[in-house]
C-alpha cells in the first residue's frame, strides 16, 4: 500500500481510493456471510445442511455436557477415595491400635505391679508397659492429624491425651508406692485402670463412630453426579445412534466412519465411568466388610484377651477371684467368629494358630488360678508364690504368644482393608483423564463426520 502523504500539488502519485462507506449508522449491522448462512440454515432445518448443523450442535452439546459431568464425577471419586486411603482408613486403623496399646499397657502395668509386689519388678513387663504407653500417645497424635474437621473427634482425642497423662501418672505413683510397700498402691493401680476402662474407651468409641461416618460420607461422595454423568453419556450415545440412523435414511449414505468412531468412543467412556464407579464402590464395600469389620472384630478379641490378663494380675495381686472366665469366653467366641469369617487359606491358618495359642493360654490360666485358690485357702502355703512365679513365667509367655497371634490375624485384616481401599483408588484414579479425553474426542469425531457430509453440499 502507498503510504505517501497526500499533499497538495504532489504529482504522479495515485492514491488508493477510500474504502466504500458503510451503511448509514441508523441501519442494523448484519452478520458475516458465514454466520449469516449458518443462521439461515439453523432456522431452516428442513434443508439438509441446516439439519446437519443442527444435529452437530446437539451432539456437541450432549458430549461436552457428558465430558463435564463425567470429569466431575471422576474427580470426586478420585478425591474421596484418596481421602479414604490417606486419612480415613489410617485413622480407623490408628484408633484400633490406640485401643489395643492402652489395653496392652494395662496388662503390662498390672504384670509389672505384681512382680514388684513379689520383690523384683519384671523388666520385660515394665518395658512392655513403657512401649505400650509410648505407642498410645503416638497413635493419638497420629490419629489427630487424620480425623479431619470433626469437632467431636478432636475433642475425644484431647480427652484421650489428657487421660493418658493422668493414667501414666497414676501408674507411676502406684508403682512407686508398690515398690515401697505402701498399702494404697493397689487402689491407685485400680484407679489408673478405671481411667482407661471408662474415659479412654468412651473417647475411642466416639472417634471410631466419627471415622466410620466419614467413611460412609466419602464412599457416597460423587455417587449422584456419577449416575447423572452415566445418564448423560447414555443419552449422548443414543443421540449419536439415532442421528446415524436418520442420516442413513435421509442421505442414502450407509456408513460415516467418524460418526461410528464417535459412538464407540462415547460407549467406551460410559462403560469406563460406570465400571470405574462400580469397581470403586465394590472395592470399598469389600474392604469394609472383609477388612475393617474384621479389624474391629479381631481388636475385640485382643481387648478381651488383655482384659483377661489384667483380671488375672488383679486376682493375684488382690487374692480375690475376679470374673476372668467370661472374658476368656469372649475370646473363644471371637475366635470362632474369626474362623467363620476367614476367606483365605492364610487367614484360616493364622486363626488356627491363634486358637492353639489361646488354648495353651487358657490351660495356663487355669493352672495359675488353681494355685492361687489353694493359696487363698491356706495363706501359709507357698502356692501363692508358686502362682505368681508361674504367672511371671508361663503365664506371660503364653499370653505373649497369644497376643502375637492376634496381631498376625489383625495384620491380615489390615492388609485386606488397605488392599481393598487401594483397589478402589486404582479404579478411581484414571477416571477423570478418561472422561475428559474420550467424550471430547467423540465430539470432535462427530463434528468431523457432519462436516464431511456438509462438504457434499458446498
Amino acid at each position: 500500500m502507498v503510504t505517501a502523504p497526500s499533499t497538495p500539488g504532489s504529482a504522479g502519485i495515485h492514491l488508493r481510493p477510500p474504502p466504500p462507506q458503510g451503511p448509514p449508522t441508523d441501519q442494523p449491522i448484519s452478520a458475516t456471510p458465514r454466520l449469516a448462512a449458518l443462521g439461515r440454515s439453523l432456522v431452516q432445518p428442513e434443508t439438509t445442511p441446516g439439519w446437519l448443523r443442527l444435529w452437530g450442535l446437539i451432539l456437541a452439546a450432549a458430549l461436552i455436557l457428558f465430558a463435564v459431568t463425567g470429569t466431575l464425577a471422576g474427580l470426586s471419586a478420585r478425591s474421596s477415595t484418596a481421602t479414604i486411603q490417606d486419612d480415613t482408613a489410617p485413622s480407623l486403623i490408628g484408633v484400633q491400635d490406640l485401643l489395643s496399646s492402652v489395653a496392652e499397657a494395662n496388662a503390662a502395668a498390672t504384670g509389672a505391679f505384681l512382680s514388684g509386689s513379689a520383690g523384683t519388678e519384671s523388666r520385660a513387663q515394665r518395658n512392655l508397659y513403657l512401649d505400650a504407653v509410648r505407642r498410645s500417645t503416638a497413635e493419638a497424635e497420629r490419629v489427630s492429624s487424620l480425623v479431619g474437621d470433626s469437632e467431636a473427634a478432636h475433642q475425644a482425642l484431647q480427652n484421650i491425651g489428657a487421660n493418658l497423662v493422668v493414667y501414666s501418672g497414676e501408674i507411676e505413683s502406684s508403682r512407686t508406692a508398690n515398690l515401697a510397700g505402701v498399702s494404697t498402691a493397689r487402689d491407685q493401680l485400680r484407679g489408673a485402670l478405671d481411667i482407661t476402662g471408662t474415659d479412654v474407651a468412651s473417647s475411642v468409641v466416639t472417634i471410631t463412630a466419627e471415622a466410620r461416618a466419614d467413611l460412609d460420607r466419602q464412599t457416597d461422595r460423587g455417587l449422584v453426579i456419577g449416575i447423572v454423568a452415566v445418564g448423560l453419556g447414555s443419552l449422548a450415545l443414543l443421540l449419536l445412534l439415532l442421528f446415524q440412523v436418520r442420516l442413513t435414511t435421509r442421505t442414502n449414505r450407509v456408513l460415516n466412519l467418524p460418526l461410528v468412531a464417535a459412538s464407540i468412543l462415547t460407549a467406551i467412556a460410559v462403560v469406563v465411568l460406570a465400571s470405574g464407579l462400580l469397581t470403586r464402590n465394590t472395592a470399598l464395600s469389600n474392604a469394609r466388610s472383609g477388612g475393617y469389620d474384621s479389624i474391629e472384630s479381631t481388636a475385640e478379641i485382643q481387648a478381651a484377651a488383655f482384659a483377661a490378663q489384667t483380671a488375672l494380675s488383679l486376682e493375684l495381686i488382690g487374692g480375690q477371684a475376679t470374673e476372668i472366665q467370661p472374658l476368656l469366653d469372649n475370646v473363644r467366641s471371637g475366635i470362632d467368629r474369626a474362623k467363620g469369617r476367614a476367606d483365605s487359606t492364610r487367614e484360616e491358618a493364622a486363626v488356627n494358630l491363634l486358637e492353639q495359642r489361646f488354648t495353651r493360654y487358657e490351660t495356663t490360666v487355669s493352672a495359675i488360678r488353681a494355685s492361687a485358690a489353694v493359696a487363698a485357702g491356706d495363706p501359709a502355703n507357698s502356692a501363692a508364690a508358686d502362682a505368681t512365679a508361674a504367672f511371671q513365667g508361663e503365664g506371660l509367655s503364653t499370653f505373649n504368644g497369644l497376643n502375637t497371634s492376634i496381631e498376625s490375624v489383625l495384620f491380615d485384616n489390615r492388609t485386606q482393608f488397605v488392599a481393598g481401599v487401594g483397589d478402589a483408588a486404582d479404579a478411581a484414579n484414571r477416571l477423570p483423564v478418561y472422561l475428559i479425553v474420550l467424550p471430547l474426542l467423540a465430539a470432535l469425531a462427530a463434528l468431523l463426520g457432519i462436516q464431511r457430509r456438509l462438504r457434499e453440499y458446498s
Binding site: A349, L353, G393, F411
Partner: protein, 377 residues
C-alpha cells in the same frame, strides 16, 4: 561363629526318634498345599556347619528323613561360614537358596529391607510350636518372616581353680586380678551387649549412646591390657590350657567342653554362669529370601523340623537351645533326662527373664559400631 556338633553317641536314641519321626513326618509332609506356593519338588538350604544331625550309618539324619518322608529333594550345604555369606546369598537373589540361617540381628535387617518372603504358615501348622519368647521381637512380632532355628547364650565361662573365687558378675571380667587373662568374643553385638548390661543398660533396646558406652567398656579393658584374647569358639581351648582364666563364652561350646565332646578332655569343672546383670541371647533363623520359587518345599521342611520329635533329635546332636515347644518333654520321654534337665539347653523362667536379645540399631549406627569394635583386635 562356629556351631559345633556334639559328638555324643546317641545311636539308640536316634534310632528310636528316627522311627517315631518318620511315622509322624509321613502323616504331615505328604499333604499338598491347595494353593500355589511355587515348586514342591525341591529346595536349597545353606546352613552353618555341624548345625543339624547328619545321617550316621543306618540312622538317617534330619535332612534325609525329610527327603524320604516327603519326596522333596533338598539341596543342602553347610557353607554358611558367617553372616557375610548370608549377605552374599541375599545379594544373589534368584539363586537356588530357599532357606538361609542368618543370626537374629541380620534377619532383622533383611526383614526390614523387605528381602524376606513371608513364612507360608498355610503349610506350617507346627508354627504353633514356636516358643513364645521368640515371638515378641519388635522386628518380627509373631515370626511372620522367619522361624528361629537354634538359640544360644553368651555369658561367662571360667576355671574356678584359676580364678580362686566364683564369678557372678560381668564386672568380674574387669577385675585387675585377671589382667591379660580374660577373653572376649569377637561378635560385636554380644560383647557390646555385655558392656551395656554392666552399665545397667538394656541391649534389647539399644541406642547409639548406650551402645557406645558399652563399647567404651570393652575398649578401655582392651587398652589397659585386661583382655588377653578376642576369640570365637576357641575360647574353650584357651580356658582348657589356662591361657585364659575367664571368658565371654557361648553356652553351647561350653556345654561341649564340659561334656568332653571336643577334641580335648572333658572339663566338667569349667563353670558357665549367667551373670547377675544378665546375659546376651542370640538365635539363628530360618529365612526364605525374597524371590524364592520353592516356598512350598521350604515350608514343608520348616514344618518338619518344628515337629518336637524331629526337633529333639536336632537338639540332642547340636547342643543348643531349641526354639520348639515340646522338645524337653520329648527328650525326657526318650530316656534322656540329663539333656532334658540341662539348664544350658532349657533355661528356666527365672533365667529367661535375665536374657537379653540385641534389639538392633539403624544400619549406619551398627556399621559404625562394627568398625570401632573391629579396630580393637
Amino acid at each position: 561363629m562356629t556351631r559345633r556338633q556334639t559328638a555324643i553317641d546317641r545311636r539308640s536314641f536316634l534310632i528310636a526318634l528316627g522311627a517315631t519321626g518318620l511315622a509322624t513326618a509321613c502323616g504331615s509332609a505328604g499333604a499338598a498345599p491347595e494353593f500355589d506356593l511355587g515348586s514342591r519338588s525341591s529346595f536349597g538350604m545353606v546352613n552353618w556347619a555341624d548345625y543339624i544331625d547328619p545321617t550316621d550309618g543306618d540312622v538317617l539324619g534330619t535332612v534325609d528323613r525329610f527327603q524320604q518322608a516327603s519326596g522333596i529333594v533338598v539341596d543342602y550345604a553347610e557353607t554358611y561360614e558367617s553372616n557375610a555369606v548370608g549377605i552374599e546369598l541375599l545379594a544373589n537373589a534368584g539363586g537356588r537358596t530357599d532357606i538361609i540361617v542368618p543370626t537374629n540381628w541380620l534377619a532383622a535387617q533383611v526383614i526390614e529391607r523387605g528381602d524376606a518372603e513371608p513364612i507360608p504358615i498355610e503349610i506350617i501348622p507346627n508354627h504353633a510350636n514356636i516358643d513364645p519368647q521368640f515371638l515378641t521381637n519388635s522386628w518380627d512380632r509373631g515370626c511372620r518372616f522367619q522361624m528361629p532355628w537354634q538359640s544360644g547364650l553368651t555369658g561367662i565361662a571360667y576355671d574356678p581353680a584359676l580364678t580362686g573365687r566364683p564369678l557372678t558378675s560381668i564386672a568380674d571380667l574387669f577385675d585387675p586380678a585377671f589382667k591379660g587373662r580374660i577373653g572376649f568374643i569377637v561378635e560385636m553385638r554380644e560383647a557390646v551387649g555385655l558392656g551395656m548390661l554392666l552399665n545397667g543398660d538394656d541391649p534389647s533396646r539399644p541406642t547409639l549412646l548406650t551402645a557406645q558406652a558399652g563399647l567404651d567398656r570393652i575398649r578401655s579393658a582392651t587398652e589397659s591390657g585386661q583382655v588377653g584374647a578376642f576369640t570365637e569358639g576357641d575360647f574353650t581351648e584357651k580356658l582348657d590350657s589356662g591361657e585364659l582364666v575367664a571368658a565371654m563364652a557361648w553356652s553351647g561350646d561350653t556345654f561341649l567342653l564340659q561334656q568332653g565332646l571336643l577334641d580335648i578332655a572333658a572339663r566338667p569343672d569349667i563353670e558357665f554362669v549367667i551373670p547377675d546383670e544378665g546375659a546376651v541371647q542370640w538365635f539363628d533363623t530360618m529365612l526364605i529370601p525374597r524371590g524364592s520359587s520353592s516356598l512350598a518345599a521350604a515350608g514343608e521342611f520348616m514344618n518338619f523340623v518344628y515337629d518336637p520329635v524331629q526337633a529333639a533329635q536336632i537338639t540332642a546332636w547340636v547342643g543348643y537351645v531349641s526354639p520348639v515347644l515340646g522338645v524337653q518333654e520329648e527328650l525326657r520321654a526318650q530316656g534322656l533326662p540329663e539333656l532334658a534337665d540341662d539348664p544350658l539347653l532349657f533355661p528356666d523362667n527365672a533365667t529367661k527373664s535375665r536374657l537379653f536379645t540385641w534389639g538392633g540399631l539403624s544400619a549406619d549406627d551398627e556399621t559404625k559400631l562394627e568398625t570401632e569394635f573391629a579396630a580393637l583386635f
